[in-house]
């Protein structure tokens, strides 16, 4: 948290907005109708605190951009896994219905790899990148089976889950990745890289699943076992390196394209956060029921 005095908040926000649009100090001063010396002093203090830079590159090498994405992934994963859904699963405070919901929607999401990866392959013009996606897909397409098995062990029918279809938030995640895939294959690669970045720490993932088993498998269904097998398999494939394999050989990436990719990946983070909230809100109020024929979304009955 940084505090700046001597400049009104709205004016400071306006200056920052102009900084991000690449304007000069003079242009900013004119636009916000502020004294140039004040604007200059404010920008200097932002730079001194490491909050702004005058040295935005015009191009990035693929390796530079890989490093940039990796540093963002660390921060974004912290943000994602601090969501109350993950906290409640880790701490054992989630209700049974939320655990079911998390498993059901994860099944849809993993099955949804078939709706996004081949779509990305079909929309990628660069044969090198396309081949990497195709290789990734061949190793990934049937992983929903692990989650189907986990559902069965928890007495939830995957056929019934499919009949009800994914929650809106889950569909939003799949549809966002499809949007990236048709917009820019590298934006898709960056989003996919974020998902795979969590898989690079297998020990942490196994510890998480063990905690979930301890907290939520009193009936000893061993529903976590197939998910552990999934980690074993993914570990062998090293999908955490796919993003780097795609970006590293790229000689130059314009700042404009790099910014667009980062923005689309950030919007993916927002979409994932929305997904977690949707699971919590929906399954808290509407536990999965094996005989229900239609999902009721956001029932809001009169008192």
């Amino acid at each position: 948290m940084f505090r700046f005095d001597g400049i009104p908040g709205p004016q400071a926000a306006e200056i920052i907005r102009h900084i991000n649009s690449g304007s000069t100090v003079e242009q900013i001063s004119n636009a916000v109708q502020a004294d140039r010396t004040i604007v200059d002093a404010f920008i200097r203090s932002l730079i001194d605190q490491g909050l702004a830079t005058e040295a935005e590159p015009e191009v990035y090498t693929g390796a530079q951009f890989t490093a940039t994405l990796r540093s963002f992934y660390d921060q974004w994963n912290d943000q994602l896994f601090s969501h109350s859904l993950w906290q409640s699963l880790s701490l054992g405070t989630a209700s049974r219905s939320i655990v079911d919901g998390w498993l059901i929607e994860t099944y849809h999401f993993i099955r949804g790899a078939n709706a996004r990866l081949p779509y990305a392959i079909a929309h990628t013009a660069d044969p090198r990148v396309r081949n990497i996606f195709a290789h990734h897909y061949r190793e990934e397409y049937d992983h929903y089976g692990f989650f189907a098995e986990a559902l069965v062990r928890r007495q939830i029918s995957p056929e019934h889950v499919e009949q009800l279809g994914p929650l809106v938030g889950t569909r939003a995640v799949i549809n966002w990745t499809r949007r990236c895939a048709r917009t820019d294959s590298l934006a898709y690669a960056a989003c996919s890289g974020l998902l795979e970045s969590t898989g690079t720490d297998s020990a942490r993932a196994r510890a998480f699943y063990r905690t979930v088993a301890t907290n939520f498998d009193a009936d000893q269904t061993n529903f976590i076992d197939p998910l552990m097998k999934h980690i074993d398999l993914d570990e062998g494939f090293e999908h955490g390196n796919v993003m780097a394999d795609i970006f590293n050989p790229i000689p130059q990436l314009s700042a404009q394209r790099a910014n667009m990719i980062v923005q689309m990946t950030y919007q993916f983070v927002e979409t994932l956060m929305q997904w977690f909230s949707d699971i919590e809100i929906h399954y808290f109020r509407f536990p999965h029921q094996s005989k229900r024929t239609v999902r009721i979304y956001r029932s809001n009955p009169a008192d």
Partner: protein, 332 residues
């Protein structure tokens, strides 16, 4: 499939059986109450009306009468045997389903607050901004949806024209937002909320699918059988302007847009010519239409939910940072 409205509650008070939502309260007594008591708990697991009648001691005729009464009040939706409906009845059922799900959207917390005059300034203007993005997205999803020649010209001509008439309407809303003191660049370059993107991406995906899928989404958006009159439209926006005077230019834009739509008869059910062309549509196609209408409603619910979640204060209204390769670590 047979659904009780998600927003209605049922109360069994012994002699009386009450079904109500925010608009209507139906009280059943005697045999009717007994029928409700036996039938309504079976609804969530019923595929259609046949599954229910066996669980009661009443005839199909009595059950149909109960369900028809509930459906006419918007408290139930009966999609049993939709394959048996002729084209006109199918079109009428699509309107019924659209009104049913539209009512569910409007019964959510934020739309209720918004249209009853209880939303905050950031929420009202934030809704205007996100609605602008939704209208702007017509150049994605409608353009994709009409990019087809898989039906006769007499069916597609109206579909093509519909997009042409909607295209460019985002300028109307942008002008309204600028009139409220918001800055052009801050609006047009802004990242839409994830909830708005969920809606527009869903519409795009439906636009890529069958003509029924594409046109079903408009049934939900335009559920009225006849366009609202100019005085209905003014009355609606007069109320909003009186509650939210700071957003008067935005509501002028909404009023202008609604008037254009009404004059162009956009309340006509866009899917009707396609249904007549495909007559008789298969059971699978019919069920898919009703599923798309429901899913469209779910996405509009998420769209509305996003607004109070994000537009909590003036700061978010005035500034939403776009992450870049340099500054993404500062964005939260």
């Amino acid at each position: 499939m047979l659904l009780l409205h998600p927003d209605c509650s049922i109360k069994d008070e012994g002699e009386r059986f009450i079904i109500e939502d925010r608009v209507i309260k139906l009280t059943y007594t005697g045999e009717s109450a007994t029928l409700c008591r036996q039938a309504l708990p079976l609804l969530p697991s019923a595929r259609d009306i046949d599954d229910i009648v066996g669980g009661t001691s009443y005839s199909m005729a009595s059950l149909k009468q109960l369900v028809a009464g509930l459906e006419s009040e918007g408290l139930a939706l009966d999609l049993s045997h939709v394959e048996e409906l002729d084209d006109n009845l199918l079109i009428e059922k699509i309107r019924t389903a659209s009104r049913f799900w539209n009512q569910h959207i409007m019964g959510q917390v934020f739309p209720s607050r918004l249209f009853e005059g209880h939303a905050t300034r950031p929420e009202v203007l934030g809704w205007g901004i996100e609605f602008y993005f939704f209208i702007r997205a017509a150049n994605e999803y409608m353009a994709r949806g009409v990019a087809r020649d898989d039906a006769p010209t007499e069916v597609l001509a109206e579909v093509w024209k519909h997009y042409v008439e909607e295209s460019g309407h985002e300028e109307i809303f942008l002008t309204g937002l600028l009139g409220c003191g918001l800055r052009r660049q801050e609006i047009v370059d802004r990242m839409p909320l994830p909830s708005t993107m969920a809606l527009t991406n869903f519409l795009y995906e439906k636009a890529c699918s069958t003509i029924f899928d594409y046109l079903s989404v408009f049934a939900l958006m335009q559920p009225l059988a006849t366009p609202p009159s100019r005085s209905d439209i003014s009355q609606r926006y007069d109320a909003l302007r009186s509650w939210y005077p700071f957003a008067s230019p935005l509501f002028n834009a909404f009023e202008q847009h609604d008037t254009i739509d009404a004059d162009l008869a956009h309340a006509k059910l866009a899917i009707a010519p396609a249904i007549i062309w495909r007559s008789p549509a298969s059971k699978h196609e019919r069920l898919a239409i009703f599923q798309t209408i429901r899913e469209t409603a779910e996405h509009f619910i998420l769209f509305f939910e996003g607004i109070p979640r994000y537009y909590k204060n003036e700061r978010f209204l005035n500034y939403r940072q776009r992450p870049t390769a340099i500054n993404a670590s500062f964005v939260s």
